[in-house]
Assembly symmetry: C2
């Protein structure tokens, strides 16, 4: 099965697709174009949805809202960042990093007070800049450092060694109902009624359904109006809960799906 994911070569998305032995892998320039490609029937997609340090990936949340696709699996990948450079640490005069990578490595980078960090548009761009600038370093994954032929001179410079990104698989059609796993749904409250969110959460609470995540996103109908993404663990009464939610407000099922293991 063709899998579309975020390129260029060496992104964590690309690394995950390789580890899952997806074949062929099609690298897209943006997360939006992964969604558009899956909607056009070009294959399944793999996209990052949240990181344990940086939070939700807005472009993915908006893609789930904009396209009528289904989540058919979730994957958790440990994220490690490394300092890669053609020169030893003491000779480095500038470090290139993507802003989210910088955020995830801020503690270590702050200790290098005298070395400025320049933000780039991707980890691949960090590698390219570090190669063409004398005495420069880049913050990269091991696989990106390998692809761009820059030696890793310091491993695991991320703030939190448990740094993890959750990815989801997106497909044109829903997958088979999993015995265990999660469901995701998108709630669009339409109205501004006070207490509505409380009422919606009550639907889960009274059935002891474990809500694993709630994420608000702009509805794009003006400041202060939001939609909500909810994830919850599958149990015997999830269908009944969904029907009750539908009687209260506009709700869309984004899919029920299993967890897919990630080989090292």
């Amino acid at each position: 099965m063709t899998v579309l994911t975020l390129g260029p070569e060496g992104t964590f998305s690309h690394e995950l697709a390789l580890r899952l032995k997806c074949d062929p892998i099609v690298l897209e320039p943006t997360i939006h174009s992964v969604f558009a490609g899956v909607a056009a029937g070009r294959g399944d997609g793999i996209v990052p949805i949240e990181n344990s340090e940086a939070g939700a990936v807005g472009e993915t949340m908006d893609g789930l809202s904009r396209y009528s696709l289904s989540i058919t699996g979730e994957m958790y990948m440990p994220i490690h960042h490394n300092l890669a450079s053609l020169v030893p640490l003491e000779k480095i005069r500038v470090i290139y990093a993507h802003p989210q990578t910088h955020e995830q490595c801020s503690t270590w980078l702050e200790e290098l007070k005298e070395v400025p960090v320049i933000h780039t548009s991707s980890n691949a761009q960090s590698a390219i800049e570090a190669k063409k600038t004398p005495n420069a370093g880049a913050i990269l994954s091991v696989s990106a450092a390998g692809i761009y032929h820059i030696p890793v001179i310091m491993e695991h410079v991320e703030n939190n060694k448990e740094n993890t990104t959750r990815f989801v698989k997106i497909s044109k059609n829903p997958g088979p109902a999993p015995r265990a796993g999660k469901c995701s749904l998108l709630i669009d409250p339409d109205t501004d009624r006070a207490g509505l969110l409380y009422e919606l959460l009550g639907v889960f609470a009274k059935r002891k359904i474990n809500l694993t995540r709630i994420e608000s996103r702009p509805s794009k109908r003006g400041m202060g109006k939001y939609v909500f993404f909810l994830d919850y663990a599958v149990n015997g009464s999830t269908d009944e809960a969904f029907s009750e939610l539908e009687s209260i407000t506009t709700v869309r099922n984004l899919g029920c799906y299993p967890r897919i293991g990630v080989p090292p």
Copy 2:
């Protein structure tokens, strides 16, 4: 009063500080350094907290969580993006844009199918690249286009004409209790107890306190563990609600504050 905000010259943060007649204005390289400067007593800060298209500003949410500062005001600024270029539209072969700016102008940019968009690390960087590249454009605010001396050749290319960014003023000490306005608080649920969020929202619902926003952020204690930012409208029973929340879980008052008008 000295006000610290995000630079370089021509950011929306800078434009807001100018419109509010803040003097002197100190431009900081990152939102984190605005927080650090306010915590060090160098002045008040002005930071973007959410945009009606792109959602929460993660770096600001994390700053509120990390530093013991107070929100002392909120400001709503309309955001307009424009195409600026030294050449007419039909000669443009590449457009530079910050990823968030791209996201906010995606509809118009997608219509220009044959013109690639290159992501930059800031709107200022877009201006610099557009000036040094032949036949290039940049997506900029009117004030940034003026500062970098690039003519605006097409106005208001944003997806949504109601595009608005909400900013907050942050101070070392809480402001006076406002007669009308909002309060913000940070809830750290510590435990994973099912139904806890439902119980917390009940504290507001039973007092008819209007919850205007709920935003989850990673707790940074591992994937799947979140803290919650809540905004609610001030009413007669907000103190009582806060005491009840404190009896249930760990909660921090981020301040009660008025809305500050933004001169055109």
